[in-house]
Structures are given as C-alpha cells and as structure tokens.
C-alpha cells in the first residue's frame, strides 16, 4: 500500500491507511454481492437496501444510536419484509420492494428534517467519507467482507444451483429459499456497514457497476467474481486517491471512477452481442 501512496506522492498517514483498508474491504464484499444481484436480476432490491440503510442511519442519529447498527437493523428489516409483503398483497416481489423503497425514502427525509443537531453527520451518510472511518467501522466492514467470502466458499455449489434455476433447485430438494434469502441478507449487510464510507445513496453503484464492467470481459461466474472485485477495488482506491489529491467528495469520486472504468471497458471488451 505504501508503494501506492509513494506513487501518488502521499505520505502513509493513519487516516489514509484506514480509508484504503475500509474501501478495499467494501469493494470486495460489494463486488461479490453485485454478481449475485446481477444474475438474480434484483438490482432494485439492492437499491432499496441502500435507501433502507440510509433511513436506518438517519434514524439512528436522531435517537443518538450508532448509525451503522441502526442501518443494519433497517436493512435486515427491509430484507425480511419483501417476501411477506408480496405474499400478503398478492403481487410480485418487485411491487413490494418498490413500496418498501418509498417507505424508507420517506422515513429518511422525514428524520433528516427532524434532526436538529448532527445534520452534517446525517448528510455525510448520503455521500459517505472513507477518510473519516474509524477502527471500529473497519471491524464492521471486515466482518461483513469475511461473512460474504465465507458464504461464497461454503455455499458455492448451492449458489450455482440456485442461479442456474431456482425452480429446478427447489424441485430437486436444494434449499433454494434459505440460500436466496441469505444472499439478500448479505446484500443488506454489505450496504449498511459500508454506509459511512461510500454513502447510502452511492453504495448501490458500487454493487452494480463493477459487475457490469466484469461482464464485458467474461460471462462465466467464477471469473466474474474475480474481475468484479478487481474493478471495484480499482474504482475505490483510484477514486479515493483522486478525492484526496483534488479535494473532491469521496463517495462521488469512487462512483464516478467506477463509471469511468465501465466506459473504458466498453471500448476494450469482447463483443457480447451473440445473445441477440
């Protein structure tokens, strides 16, 4: 890491090292979750999780609680309510997700307006700031990345079977529902623990864009995990450096860097139009 700092003409200050570690771990968990979100075609679920995390964090600040913990609670609650709400209302999971999305957005703006003190802190959760992450935040982020990686390694065969076909997995006795909901819960965790670093509204981009970039180079699942993590890491670290050097908002720099890498990848990618 010092090589990277020296290359950029920076000294390895503790807050900068913390920022790089946090964003690196965030990149890994978001990239893996992103591959699941991409192939299960549930980007809207990830977007809803991002807003639930933001609402939870804002409400946490309002009540004087740890915003990361309240973000986790709200994200998990949102994840648990998607399926029962769809069942009760007799409509698709997409419709119930949109209701939860609106509810969370409404809550977030309501409590933003009600917060008297710490409004700057609440606003920073919207855009994130990896340069201010604490050691405790890093523990949360590392635990989440470890959970995502462990789940991937332990349940890889089940994940492949469920991505291949949820119906066939169910028909042949594979526990497809627990696997699918575990993926959603890990998505919720990844979004919520990284809210202070990347920001509630931008974390969604870090889940979707590196995976879309990876898809330009490989359509097979195993290389996609690796490539997606690589592009997410590049976006996080280059975005962070750009933000530090040019004094830009960090979350926005990271997301714009991810977009830039995606557009560059479009120029170099193999032609994927054989599906048409």
């Amino acid at each position: 890491m010092e090589i990277l700092f020296n290359f950029a003409g920076l000294s390895a200050q503790p807050f900068l090292i913390r920022a790089f570690i946090a964003s690196g771990l965030c990149a890994i968990s978001c990239a893996i979750v992103g591959v699941w979100v991409f192939f299960f075609k549930i980007p809207f679920v990830a977007l809803t999780m991002a807003h639930a995390a933001f609402a939870g964090a804002v409400i946490g600040i309002f009540f004087g609680l740890n915003p990361v913990v309240s973000a986790v609670v709200f994200c998990l609650a949102a994840a648990f309510f998607i399926a029962p709400l769809a069942q009760k209302g007799n409509f698709s999971a997409n419709a119930s997700t949109s209701i939860i999305f609106s509810f969370m957005l409404g809550l977030a703006f309501l409590f933003m307006a009600l917060i008297q003190e710490n409004r700057a802190l609440a606003l920073s959760l919207m855009w994130g700031s990896p340069l201010t992450v604490s050691v405790r935040d890093i523990y949360f982020i590392a635990a989440c990345a470890a959970a995502v990686l462990t789940f991937l390694v332990v349940f890889n065969k089940g994940i492949i079977a469920v991505i291949f076909s949820r119906d066939l997995a169910k028909a042949s006795g594979i526990a497809e529902k627990p696997i699918f909901y575990a993926l959603i819960i890990l998505c919720a965790l990844s979004v919520s623990v990284n809210i202070s670093g990347i920001g509630g509204l931008l974390i969604y981009s870090l889940i979707t864009i590196p995976t879309a970039t990876a898809y330009q180079f490989s359509q097979k699942i195993k290389p996609m995990y690796f490539l997606s993590a690589l592009f997410a890491l590049a976006a996080c670290w280059l975005g962070l450096l750009a933000s530090y050097i040019f004094n830009l908002p960090t979350g926005a720099s990271v997301v714009l860097m991810a977009c830039l890498i995606f557009f560059i990848s479009l120029c170099f990618a193999k032609n994927n139009n054989h599906y048409k």
Partner: protein
C-alpha cells in the same frame, strides 16, 4: 413399493379448474406417460409431484426424500445470460443428490463426463448453458436429472425440441434407465407414438380430469 400417491388432488387458479380430484399411485419401476392436449393439466400434475405447485385441495403421500425427485421442465432453455457452463449445470444434479456441503465425489465427476458423452454434449461442455440450442438444453437437463440418480424422474414434454433420431435415442435411454435403475418415470407428452408398445402405463388427461 409405492413412492408417491396423490389423493383427490385439485388445483384451481383463480376461477379456472386445472386439475379435478386426481388420484394417482406411483411405484418404483413405473413408467407412466401422461398425455393430453395443451391445457389438460399435464405440467401442473408434474409440478405438484415435485413440489413446484401446491394443490388447492387433496393430499400427497410421499415415501421419498426431496432430493430423490428430479424434474426436467418443458422449457429446458436456461436464461440467455445464465453464467453457468453446461458441465456445471449437469453437476448441479450431483449437488442435489449429495447436498450442498459435501465434496464432489470422483464417481460424480466420472458420471457427469459419461453423461456428457452419452447425450452428445462434449462439444459444448464448457459453453454457457444459455448459449446452446434448445435440443442441447433439453439433453443437458436430462443428463443433470440422471446424475442426480433419482427414485422419481419427472419429464415435461422431453421430446419437444428434439429431432427424430434424438427422440428415438432418448426413448431407448429412458426405457433402459427405467429397467436398470428401477427409477419411476412420469412423463408428460403429446407424442406417444415413438414409445415402444407395452412398456408404460398411459394416463389421459382432459380438462384436468383423468379419463
């Protein structure tokens, strides 16, 4: 041995009666062909048997575990953007058989290679399963089901995307598999003329009723 029995199963979607009081007993070694026109309820009956659909009334008694049932859907083609290769897709049959935590056995790897050759999928084994033809997808699904070594194999219109030669080969393969393994096979099809006479029990469905 009776492995599954359906007792007065009825399925109703909104105001439409899809199946009416169906009673069916399936024993080990049975080869049952369910025939009927489109909309007769054949696919729903198979989905009931593998747990993909729930009956509105009636009950099912099963003497086999969930992973001892293999299902080959009518639409065998996976999603166009499915990131799984043909080989990995076939191996999901072994995952169902052994469970998701167990290490892949060498006999399953050998079994999948044999099935890939048997079903003529060698040239596409490393291709993405969404990029193969309809006929290849159907053979891949059947290979996956065989690797699972089920006690009950459910096939929904398995001949729909196959040419004449493949249909004959598959018919022979299914009859041999049924005789060799004692696996019960329930097949929904409207093409019954290619099956050898007398090897199977035929059930005719019309508007959700067995006639």
């Amino acid at each position: 041995m009776v492995i599954a029995s359906l007792n007065n199963i009825s399925v109703k979607f909104s105001q439409t009666h899809v199946l009416n009081n169906i009673c069916l007993e399936i024993s080990s070694g049975d080869f049952i062909v369910i025939c009927g026109a489109n909309g007769a309820g054949k696919s729903t009956l198979l989905k009931i048997l593998c747990g993909l659909a729930k009956p509105s009334s009636g009950n099912i008694a099963a003497n086999i575990k969930g992973n001892e049932v293999a299902y080959v859907p009518q639409n065998a083609m996976p999603d166009k953007k499915c990131p799984i290769t043909v080989k990995e897709a076939i191996m999901t049959g072994a995952v169902a058989k052994n469970g998701i935590f167990k290490k892949t056995k060498s006999c399953d790897i050998q079994g999948s290679e044999d099935l890939i050759k048997k079903f003529g999928l060698k040239s596409v084994e490393n291709a993405l399963c969404g990029n193969i033809s309809g006929g290849q997808a159907q053979r891949m699904q059947i290979a996956r089901a065989f690797l699972q070594q089920p006690k009950l194999l459910l096939l929904d219109e398995p001949f729909s995307s196959l040419d004449k030669t493949c249909k004959e080969t598959l018919t022979k393969t299914l009859v041999d598999y049924n005789a060799k393994t004692n696996c019960a096979i329930v097949m929904a099809t409207h093409i019954i003329h290619s099956l050898p006479h007398g090897q199977y029990k035929t059930i005719k469905l019309e508007h959700g009723n067995i006639i």
